[in-house]
């Protein structure tokens, strides 16, 4: 289970990238619920996460990062 702080931070990042309010990005949001989260959107998400958390994500990890819970879990495990 990812920490609440990480979930919040991830929501902030996703909301900024797609220009949404924090409320529009609930803790269970995913690439299915956010329209502009397509393959290019996904690249933006990955780049921003890597910078914000100062980490390098592997292709396998980024492939799984299709929702807020999945992202937060991977970030916390890293």
């Amino acid at each position: 289970m990812a920490s609440e702080a990480t979930v919040y931070r991830v929501r902030e990042i996703i909301s900024t990238i797609f220009n949404l309010s924090l409320e529009q990005v609930p803790p269970d949001a995913s690439n299915k619920s956010i329209e502009r989260w397509d393959s290019m959107g996904h690249l933006l998400v990955v780049l921003e996460l890597e910078q914000a958390f100062e980490t390098q994500l592997s292709p396998e990890q980024t492939e799984q990062m299709t929702s807020i819970p999945a992202i937060a879990a991977i970030i916390d495990a890293a």
Partner: protein
Amino acid sequence: MTRIDRAAIDTAIENKAWPAALAALRQFWRDSPGLAGAQLVLDRIKKIEHGAPSVPCRLAVLRSFTLEPALPMLRASCALHGIDLTVQVGDFNTYVQDILTPTSDLYSFDPHVVILAVQTRDLLPELWSDYTALARHDIDRAVERATGDLRAWIHAFRIRSQASLIIHDFEIRAVSNSGILDSQMPDGQSDTIRRINRELRRMAAQDTGVFVLDYDGLVSRFGRDRWHDERKWLTARMPIAADCLVHLADEYARYLIPLMGRGAKALIVDLDNTLWGGVVGEDGLHGIKLGPEYPGAAFLALQRTILDLYQRGIILAVCSKNNPADAMEVLEQHPHMLLRPRHFAALRINWVDKALNLRELAQELNIGIDALAFLDDNPAERERIRLELPEVHVIELPQDPMDYARAVRESAVFERLTLSAEDRERGRYYAEQRQRTELAESASSLEDFYRSLKMRAEIADVTAETLARTAQLTQKTNQFNLTTRRYSEQQIEEMSRGRDWRVYTLRVLDRFGDNGLVGVAITHQEGEVCEIDTFLLSCRVIGRTVETALLAHLARQAAEGGAARLVGSFLPTKKNAPARDFYPNHGFYAVTLSSDPALMPTASRWELRLPHPDLVCPEWIEYCTVPGEN
């Protein structure tokens, strides 16, 4: 990114404190450039109602790799410079088809600017990866093919589009295929790629509106190892590390700012603790820090950088809270000063509020407030200008004077893509202008003043030599400009070749020197109507009746060409009030006028029957025509 910054921006927006909001947004972008920051800037800037409207710019990017994540940052950076950027990105590696197909999306997008971003490894895979396996003639053939292709693409593009074209040059490898052996050969791998780059620069220089972006230099500036991200290249075809994308965006902005006319024309500098260390009023001429040794060397480095800007055609002026005698003593006598009074077009050495001084300086230099850049070590003065005159480009100076020169050098608003003869001479023009003003103050009547100037107007058709300056004038002239139509060099060139079009240039000389090319008029004749498409005058010669000389020439040419009517429009903008009464003052009749032009300044159309014997060159101007190329 910190939440405090966001809150400051949003509070300012809520309070409708537009300058504060803009200042906060600019600072936010300086502190946290990046993807998230870019989205925030783009979102908030729409809510800020600041004075100057943005110029729209359509940018097409043709590429061989993923660079989309850099684009929000580019749009944000442009937005803060008053450019509203729309970007179209081509598909991977379809740039050849895009350029060669007249009906491609590239051309239907009708871009102002096109960037061709192709990596060495995509254009020249054999030179990039298999260099050691190539024989001499294979290498030569690869170079010939690459340069031949580039030449053909530039040519095809020029036929189909008038947009400016920016081409990435080709990066060399961080480590060549043969290791250090490569440097032992005159035609090694790195050298071969540099050969192609040299050829590219030659081609670009031959064509108007084609520019080279030193991509190899950009990569090396930040470090080849740091720039590249092999994982992103292999997974997403993005070769550039996430934290370097902003540098690519910044580099693009350096081109778009001058191309869209959003650069600064003048730099206003402070003196104490900016041009030298210490306060001259307290430390005295010999006590201030300026010279080849630290700490004076830091200030000397800044002066050298400012001198570079002067050579580039940036006007310099002083705005300093000081006793004039103290400050002038340093400017005139300090042995290590590089900047002397002759470099400055205007001086404001007084104790008056700097915002007031800057307003006056803009007026005296005859340029818009938004064409000023401001350099001052005092954060309070910078803040004052940001809040009072948000249009001014305030250069954020770091704490340490050793970083001052770099801060100025990195300011994108001073970038220029072409350097005309006028640019190089601008400093001198302004110094002469100061003398003219002094004369005007002593001359008893205006006509005496005109006579005493001994003006000579040379009117010519535009030529290859004057093309760059002519386009530049249409792009930069705001005040005496009847229609404010902005044209690229290619568009001017095309019009000058058109059968019914004429592009006139006006050069003015007087007893103080050559003012250079200071006026442009473009006409289009259809049957018996000659339409004035463009009529503009550089602020350098406003108020000296040379516009009458140019208009009289136009009228005579039109009449000789069979026109019975000379027609022109006045399209009002925020800045072109000086040109408002130009047509009525020269005997033109209003064809259409808005009901109350004073209240609702809208476009008006004016007409003059030809021939018109009253419209002649003023007697105090010696006038001559110079045959052009046409």
